[in-house]
């Protein structure tokens, strides 16, 4: 793959330039200066503009001098993203299954799939972990955990 396309600086520069543009365009719709002083758009206009300039600098630097250092190892990223998707799925399931079951499922996934432990270990950690959270927060500290329709 072209080193520029593997460069994290190139892509992050583009994303941040887009964000900077969004900030400036949105802030343009608000008051910049009013009779009382600076309006709601004053501050965002300045940092949004600075963001565009700096992120384009980052992108052009990556284009002109693609460095090995800035290349992203996508294999590493895929493991982290897998774990992140599991976390998102667990949070998405909470309104249905509640914290205790969703967290147990997330724990099984992390221990078994991400850390490569035996399923028995994963189940023990998941059950003990969920029970521990329930007893500590719901029972002892009287703090409510995310409730679900089922639990």
């Amino acid at each position: 793959m072209n080193p520029v396309l593997r460069s994290g600086d190139f892509w992050s520069g583009l994303v941040l330039a887009a964000l900077g543009t969004y900030i400036v365009v949105t802030a343009h719709g608000w008051d910049y200066l009013t009779e009382e002083g600076p309006g709601a758009g004053f501050f965002p206009m300045w940092y949004g503009g600075a963001m565009i300039v700096l992120s384009l600098l980052l992108t052009f630097a990556a284009l002109l001098r693609p460095s090995k250092h800035a290349e992203v190892r996508w294999k590493d990223v895929s493991r982290a993203i897998t774990a992140w998707v599991a976390l998102v799925a667990s949070v998405a399931l909470m309104p249905l299954l509640g914290f205790v079951i969703s967290f147990a499922l997330l724990t099984v996934f992390i221990v078994k799939v991400m850390c490569g432990e035996k399923i028995r270990t994963a189940l023990i950690v998941a059950i003990c972990g969920s029970a521990g959270f329930y007893l500590l927060f719901e029972v002892a500290l009287e703090l409510s955990l995310p409730p679900g329709k089922l639990f």
């Binding site: 709601a40 992203v72 992140w84 724990t107 221990v111 850390c115 409510s144 995310p146």
Partner: protein, 502 residues
Amino acid sequence: MDIVSGLLHGFQVALTFNNLMMCVVGVVLGTVIGVLPGLGPPATIAMLLPLTMKLDPTGAMIMLAGIYYGAKYGGSTTSILLNVPGESSSVVTCIDGYAMARKGRAGPALGMAAIASFIAGTFGVVALMLVAPPLARLSLAFSAPEYFALMVLGLAMVVLLSGESLTKALLAMFLGLWIASMGTDIFSATSRFTFGQVELMGGIDFIIVAIGVFAVGEVLGNMEPAKPPDVLPVPKGLRNLLPTWEDMRRCRFAFVNGSVVGFLIGILPGAGSTIASFMSYGIEKAVSKHPEEFGHGAIEGVAAPEGANNAETGGALVPLLTLGIPGSGTTAILLAALILWGFKPGPLFIQDSPELFWGLVASMYIGNVLLLILNLPLVAVFAQLLKLPAYMMYPLILGVSIVGVYTSASSMFQLALLCGFGLLGYLMRKLDFPTAPLVLGLVLGDLMEKALRQSLMMSQGSISILFRPIPSVLLIVATLLLIVPLFKKFNAARLQVIDREA
């Protein structure tokens, strides 16, 4: 209230059963997270902060501060026994600490780390107690323009020392400012960057960003299978942990050096304990009669940096409590905690909240004694934590993060934001964007915008108000700090400092 009566009042507060227990919990937890590589004080404090909302603020602050300085003690254990720093501030301890352990002197290295941490940590608290009240009185003369300039200077220092790329550090800071802008503008009632979501009208809770970026981002970044650590054994018995009189004599200057350098560096925003420990190590080596022993197990090479990183804590609390300006990610979270509990760190903080200020100072004296007691005989027990499998740590951190965010707002929307900021934290690490400017930008963004707009309102929109003596000096220094890296010679020095930190 003068210093003596303030301190006496502080001990009355800190020695109540409840606050004493909070101090014990804080320092033990701090030592534990200091020992465990990968989980730092900002992540731990951020995760626990929502759970402290039901507690008495003084006790909660005593506990969170205990985590902050306790982690500095724990960090040395991993550096000495494993050659892996438990905390970034203990990086330099690896050099001579691990060399001593390999020569069979792990005991005196661990003992000296604890003794130096105690001496310098206590010096840091004494200096905090002496410096903070007069500085607070001095800063009473500050109004909105001075505060704006001070915050710009703080951010410039953090940006300057936060990463190899100044561009990335600035972008991270602007991202923090953007997140801080979300919600309803209090001056004009305009909804800014809310994407039509009612939940965003009140802005994004700092806690969600801090837990997401520090804790969840850290777990995602640590998902790589790691090699099991090869831990050197801890000698049994207290006698084998105590340094000899000759060791103590050799470290006399290191105690002074670590204490003074650590405290002074701590006051500067952005510099932090890692730089303090490297500086004191460099000074120690430069003035030593045996510089050739450094790197091969010189005990002064353990005492000076361990002292410096503990004295730095006292220094870092000076601008936080007297000016309301944090200098690092951890102190930014402590500032957010104080604001959430309804306090206003700044010139009037000591006067308005003497119980919290003096209680905290007194608890730090107690905490340092507790840490010395804990770290000498129990170091072998703490070292066992290094054998704790990662598969138990990751779900635990994620679980506490979820519960922490949920208990602060009882909203599933906030949990979705947590996932988003977790991914952001991971990507920032992966792409070498420093996280400290983001967090500081987020904490200071709102205050900075308010101060700037108040200043310009005071002057009917004229920027000349920022040219008053104090703001203009501060802004010139901030500008110079950001221009300096453009000169090769200065940038090389800056990168050297950052490289050491990395």
